[in-house]
């Protein structure tokens, strides 16, 4: 494990609604696992400006990501519906542990 905290970018269409939920659920889960991360929340339109592969390790999105960004993307609809959320959280954990 590297010393540097991983940086997660949470994305939804407005940057204030579903990404807020995805952020909350993810941070809660990672905290329980003892993993500290840094994070930013954004809307999908701003993604090309903020998604720098040098600084962002993982994108967690509730929308489609219509760009080729060279950053892994985890789809997080399950964090909103609760159905399959554990699997999604485990997938996020694998990227940032």
């Amino acid at each position: 494990m590297s010393n540097k905290k991983k940086n997660i970018l949470f994305v939804c269409a407005t940057g204030i609604a579903t990404s807020t939920v995805a952020t909350e659920k993810t941070l809660e889960y990672l905290k329980d696992k003892g993993v500290e991360v840094t994070y930013t929340q954004t809307n999908v339109a701003s993604l090309p400006e903020v998604a720098d592969p040098k600084t962002v390790d993982l994108i967690v999105a509730t929308t489609q990501v219509p760009f080729d960004l060279d950053i892994p993307v985890v789809h997080a609809l399950s964090l909103i519906t609760g159905i399959g959320a554990d699997k999604t959280l485990a997938e996020i954990y694998d990227y940032v542990k």
């Binding site: 407005t14 204030i16 609604a17 579903t18 939920v21 929340q41 509730t62 929308t63 609809l77 909103i80």
Partner: protein, 159 residues
């Protein structure tokens, strides 16, 4: 008072039952009319919600039936609010984050969210309902007074 600005407005007239077959645009326009009259959203709000839904669908494949959470950019909202449409005849909506996967939606939770939602996280509170099939069924089948009680319980609750 500034404190009141952090509240989420949800009152009985913000619940509308659609007994006849309807469509997404009609549901949004009908619900938004109530919020516009109460000066909670801007006049452009319904059109913006409808446009956004085409690009970023908000159908959620919940159990035992689908729901949707149409909303739009904070700039069209004046005050955090929720409006609920109960659809006796389900409408088809595209699932969030998918291309064209469709689900039957029986409850529309239309959200007016301003920037303070980042702290308030209204959606996170409502999710307690989405994730409990018995709550969804109860809302679909209950009187407006009961719906008000169920929803207010989760949105007023401290985390």
């Amino acid at each position: 008072m500034a404190v009141n600005d952090n509240k989420i407005r949800f009152e009985k007239d913000q619940i509308v039952t659609f007994n006849e077959k309807t469509n997404f645009d009609n549901v949004i326009n009908t619900l938004a009319k109530v919020l516009i009259k109460k000066d909670l959203v801007k006049p452009e709000y319904p059109q913006q919600v409808i446009l956004r839904e085409q690009k970023f669908p908000t159908g959620l494949p919940t159990n035992p039936f689908g729901v949707s959470i149409p909303h739009t950019d904070a700039k069209w909202t004046k005050h955090n609010a929720i409006a609920i449409g109960i659809l006796k005849s389900p409408i088809e909506q595209v699932v969030m984050g998918s291309d064209e996967t469709k689900i039957g939606v029986e409850i529309v939770f239309m959200l007016a969210l301003d920037k303070s939602n980042k702290q308030l996280n209204i959606l996170s509170k409502l999710m307690k309902i989405f994730q409990a099939p018995e709550s969804l069924v109860k809302i679909r089948n209950s009187s407006k007074d009961e719906i008000l009680k169920i929803v207010n319980k989760v949105i007023l609750e401290e985390k």
